[in-house]
Symmetry: C3
């Protein structure tokens, strides 16, 4: 079994923002030499999230609007007594900071509209993306 | 280490619908011959989701009502200028299209009320379910 | 490849509650002897959830308030005709009962504010936490 780790950084520029990291993850999978296995994409952060979905800017606008509707950046959250990013923690915890994709014949098994999207919830920040490839 | 892939299709019949795929996934695990490891269940789709929960039709009705309440199929989403399924993308991205279950002694480690449920958000469609079993 | 299983119990004391299980999971990882691989943390339950987020009690209060706002324990859910915990199933299914963390150099790869939190949604109950460590 081969276990391959790589890490890259994403610099975000807005408080709420979506960034497509599919190509960077696919480069790691290619470099790993793993033909069959799994790819773990993981953010070691508590105010960002990962999603698999379409790279379409209108939809990205809808995602950010939904985040505001559900997680309420201006809500009177208790955490905001000591910080100002409760909404980001709440959304990050619910949506999750990790996504797993199968690797088959050297490729991620993903649908046409299933890109790997980093959801920044408390930017601008520097975000670490850890990619682990495990397989043969 | 053994890595075993299988895939099956689910044909959905409504716009919003829940389908129990536990038996199909368990058949793949049995066929794989893996005694200990993990099972990755993955939809290569951006408008459907996977959940682990109870196979109870009243609850399934509640799930679909909650999807409507939170993700608003009739909302004035920007993505709907070019399509009509923003709600499905939004719910799919937040809930996720992948679930991982441990395999121990040849069985999925899952609770009594923890069935594997496919959540159709933009049916009727043909959905691919990819099952990867990794272990020994 | 090494596959190591361990399980522990968490006794919750309220209907809605958050419990930090990071230390217990890290003890399992240490005992496993695995230096590089993955850690699967899994609840075999349908009315609890797992999240990775900050161990901060004000934020935990916010999480529980958000659960009430979105999943409505007093909503007129159909499942509540036969039980009284539809909100718990709904939140558990959406948030998920499983989290995966990479293991590198014998340590979980997690951020400073990324603790492993058990979200009790229908307590008080005894909850099983299954930890699977897979790697080398």
């Amino acid at each position: 079994m081969k276990i391959y780790f790589s890490e890259f950084e994403v610099v975000t520029s807005s408080r709420l923002e979506i960034i497509d990291i599919t190509k960077m993850v696919e480069e790691v999978v290619a470099k790993s030499g793993v033909r069959n296995g799994i790819c773990v994409v993981h953010l070691p952060h508590a105010t960002a999230a990962l999603m698999l979905n379409e790279a379409e800017t209108r939809l990205w606008h809808d995602y950010l609007r939904l985040v505001k509707d559900v997680f309420k950046p201006d809500g009177d959250w208790q955490h905001n007594i000591i910080d100002s990013n409760a909404h980001a923690h709440l959304a990050s915890g619910f949506i999750g900071q990790t996504r797993i994709l199968p690797i088959k014949d050297g490729q991620l098994v993903r649908g046409t509209w299933q890109n790997i999207l980093l959801l920044e919830l408390d930017g601008p920040r520097h975000r670490r993306v850890v990619v682990e490839v495990l397989g043969e």
